[in-house]
Point group: D2
Chain length 365, copies 4
């Protein structure tokens, strides 16, 4: 089944394995006339690149993007934009152990069950490198959203047991965890350092705020905006939960608390006094900031010995070697932004056809 595409009108198709010759994405359906350069893409890829702090694997790759199609004289042409990043680390290392065992928390076993065998080198298709295609595609979507005054900011709202208590946007890129709270960042550092000493790994929560989205995006009853954002985020490896607005806290609240009252703000516009809904009502954006959260599990690759089985169904002890990020959250922040951008861009384009008035205006009738 063709599972590597995302989106209806603005659609990406990603391809590539960790240790294949290259990895990439095709962006199809981007409107023509958007100014777009390799630098726009590279900027986002640099944010997910490994080796930027001691909390990320030093697989040192430039991850330089090449645009292969779809751009002419600096602008998108409306035809597919193909982008490629060469995998520099293709060195043949000894994968015999990984080839024959099922790492706990990884997709080794399920890939074998589904496909009969798997490209085990570096995790193959289920490697985190797969997100390069998402980030490159998301960078195009973000460029489009910028033109419409929409901005997307993701950050860690918690790292393991440490939770951000303040939201200080300028702090986000000030610490390796992308926490918007300097104090929490210091505590997180202590915590993660301890985890690393203990050969453990840590999870966390990523929150994302999407500002400037016009009311009206999302298509009841199955293509609701929150439904598609949820699919987008849960499709990222390691994400095990999603919240929109108050999320699980809403389940414990009472109606009068949870309902957001409408009022007319100082600009004469409809607004809500609170935003428990996270900017989405009935699956349609309400014009307020969209707030989503993704729960990220701890990196499954830990350096402690683990009990597992081999492909031949024999029990074995496995000790993972090499270098692995002790936590996925910091590098996943940009992936969350990319997936949100892709979802919003598609929804924006789809929404243009919602009303006859809009259609008639478009065609000047």
């Amino acid at each position: 089944m063709a599972g590597s595409s995302f989106g209806t009108i603005f659609r990406i198709t990603t391809w590539g394995e960790s240790h294949g010759p290259s990895i990439g994405v095709v962006v199809d359906g981007c409107p023509a006339g958007l100014f777009l350069s390799e630098e726009d893409i590279q900027m986002q890829l640099n944010r997910r690149r490994p080796g930027q702090s001691r909390y990320s694997t030093p697989r040192n790759e430039a991850d330089r993007v090449h645009i292969l199609s779809g751009i002419f004289e600096g602008r998108t042409t409306g035809t597919p934009i193909a982008m490629e990043v060469i995998n520099e680390t293709q060195r043949s290392k000894d994968y015999s152990k990984i080839a024959n065992s099922y790492r706990p928390g990884h997709a080794d076993y399920t890939f074998d069950q589904k496909y009969g065998f798997r490209d085990y080198r570096g995790g193959g298709r289920s490697s985190g490198r797969e997100t390069i295609g998402r980030v490159a595609g998301g960078a195009v979507a973000m460029k489009l959203l910028e033109q419409l005054g929409i901005s997307i900011t993701a950050y860690a709202s918690s790292i393991g047991p440490v939770t951000a208590n303040t939201f200080c946007p300028e702090e986000i890129d000030n610490n390796p965890f992308h926490l918007p709270d300097a104090k929490a960042a210091a505590m997180a550092q202590e915590y993660v350092d301890r985890m690393m000493e203990e050969k453990e790994s840590s999870g966390g929560v990523i929150e994302c705020r999407i500002m400037g989205v016009p009311a009206g995006l999302g298509d009841p009853v199955f293509e609701k905006l929150d439904a598609n954002l949820s699919k987008a985020l849960v499709s990222i490896g390691a994400v095990k939960g999603i919240e929109i607005g108050d999320g699980f806290a809403a389940a414990h609240a009472v109606g009068s608390e949870n309902n957001d009252s409408f009022y007319i703000n100082e600009d004469g516009n409809t607004a809500k006094k609170t935003n428990h809904a996270g900017g989405i009502l009935g699956g349609i954006s309400d014009g307020d900031t969209i707030i989503v959260r993704a729960a990220v599990k701890p990196t499954p690759s830990i350096f402690r010995p683990q009990q597992t089985i081999s492909r031949n169904k024999e029990p074995m002890e496995l000790t993972i070697k090499g270098r692995h990020d002790p936590l996925i959250v910091p590098r996943a922040v940009v992936v969350v932004e990319a997936m949100c951008a892709l979802t919003i861009a598609d929804s924006l384009l789809l929404n243009m056809t919602a009303q006859m008035d809009g259609v008639l205006r478009f065609y000047n009738k």
Copy 2:
């Protein structure tokens, strides 16, 4: 945008408003030869029907389903199965208030923003009655899954602040909340009674266990099984959060806790010692029980006066009349099961094409 379809191979398309002549669904892509009767569908619809406890609106409708196509001599023919439920309550009541105001927590405002106007009678398309189509379609999926030994059980894991502490399957249908814990049910009753007295409403969490799913379902990287389950559940009105397996708790755990060790069980099969992953690894089912949870917000219709605005952008106080469920959870349990059944059925069919061996065997080559 065509947003009323769900699924790729096994696909439903729902239609209908709360106060239109009827409401229904078309199930397309169901394999031919499945025994299916109106009674199979009715059984599920009866579970979502209102008026079954004092915690649900006494809109007293039989909600009797009619199968209009796709069945011949008791079996599905492979052609679309259309099903319809007549809306008995179409009485013209005075909707002028609802027509001109935006109820907090409802989709009135966003529907107007998206479509320019809306069918305001009883919530129109955003009414809970829309789930009739989902439940009827889900009943077909469930019938298919039964043949494969797959069973789905949803229940309330919490009602407002009350959380189930035990899992007693036979309790689930013993209390109006579908809590699997008699003690919690008693507490929930007390809590919800109080909420009703206070003209408040309550939220809760629905948990769903899917047993018997073979390993291999789900299609990386965007059509992952958990991504599609998340979309399916968040597409249900009032759902604001999703968890797979440990969900948000995983974000706070460390790697060695969260990883599920593989072992060979007494039957000689691959199994996991724990199931923090909730039966899905890398977006693919691992053969273990699939566990998902959905956070349901409190019913937005409360009987307290609320501040809001009119369609003409004038502030107003709104007091909702009529009868509304004080909590959505009990009647949403069957909807959660339906959406899970639809997702799993589609994924099962899609998975048949994953390996050449399977294709060759199918065509006897």
Copy 3:
């Protein structure tokens, strides 16, 4: 596989068998605010209704349509429009012969091969009655196109060996064949009368002109407008060939003949001196009249004895009883219009997202 839907944004899903309780369609993705009444739909259904001339089966059904959803106060709401026509002729007649034999030229054998069995009553899903859903859905599309000044006219360009030599629009509904040429109509009448005497049936060609389509519709490279029109028309039972513009004649022409020169017309607009291309260049509409043709095979139900086999693989002679149209063309004319309307409507909506300028203008940026 879900094969009963057509379109991406403006999408129909049809359902129903010849002898089931009813037959219908769900139209999803129609923009909100389009004025639409049952009369708009009925008008088109009346055109395909049987019993209007001696060349069509006198199965005398009113085929009255009921709109079940998606309309409020006379306008589309943006939610799915479900429509239903009750099958009045469900009389149990003796189908044992048809049940056990494979009629030549019909889908009996292939349905059995695909699905294992079939609803044999009146052809089941492969009956011409299936087109009721198409025509009802197409009527909605046509209403939308009208608003944009687009009109669609289909007619017979040949009946068996008789070909129209003139194009007289007012003649089209003046003869039972929908030929735009009175002289040809007289000859066709003679021909078809003879065919009926000889217990034979006749084929023909339907031509369709679509006027007022703006340049720009169609999405290279696979969703080209002509590719989708071809799929739309070949999906009609009995259609065995398609031409766009000059069609097969182009294969025999030379370049200088076939190329249409551009010029600036008296209104200062770009135009073509000829229209060999049939209004589509590179899969995109060029603003000129779109011309397509569909070859329709003779009705497979003839009253002569035919050699065939039974379901049990035994040779047998079959003589079809009952009443059947001696030619399909006249009643298929409205179906061709419907499928063209559906294709153009979807393409019109999709085209709105082709340029950033259009997107920015739509969102007032």
Copy 4:
């Protein structure tokens, strides 16, 4: 709109322009375990490569394919197969004339209308080089079909006014036109030579025979096999008409001629005495040879002066320079095969879910 993908389960996404850095395709949904090498792809690409006879442009490119993902140890892994061909001819030549004029018969005008501007170098996305992605993707499909005993053979059935009268398979690759008739080939040579002298171009008809297809492929009522084959072929630039089986001749035939009688053949299998239907009944394959034909218009690039207009709406005379194929047919033969292979492969996979029996057998229930 995302128009560069084809197929539902077995899906290709093509990308690339004539003069961009490279051109390629992503094949998603190919079952795992299929043996596949670059040589399998190259073999097909070599067949479409220019410069193989004096009737094709001598743009001398090796068109060497690189597989970038989806293959491990010689077999497909079930993940996307990305393939790339470097464009060697990217020389900056003077395109100012082509940039500012609308070539008759080309997509220059419609691309400008749709997207606002275009990559005019060598035709950009509407260049014949776009078919590289189709042929590479089709080569994967063909490899899959081979395993199931399905073979596809396309050839010219006419070149301009010259029609093949015999079908001699071994002749097909014996002449530069791929005519299966040596005598016709000699006449075609004479004809095309004359056309070249006269600075003209020629069209033709490509016929394709698909053998070994099991009965049952195709999904009523919109995803019929013939409907999808038609879409596939008309999506090829220059195709203006399609026939299935007898095609337009059926429109002139009578029922008793056109109906194919069923009988039991010497092997005890169901067969048809004739094959006017071209192997498809009711949109479903009947087990017989599938026969389709595509009408190909003459190459629009001719060396005679032509009247046209500039982008600025000024009349101008245009004389096309450079080298262009005097006819498209010979190099399109392999593209027709590729599109047929893609359609059949997708349909084969989709058909696996048609019956409960098949589903239960697959899952061993």
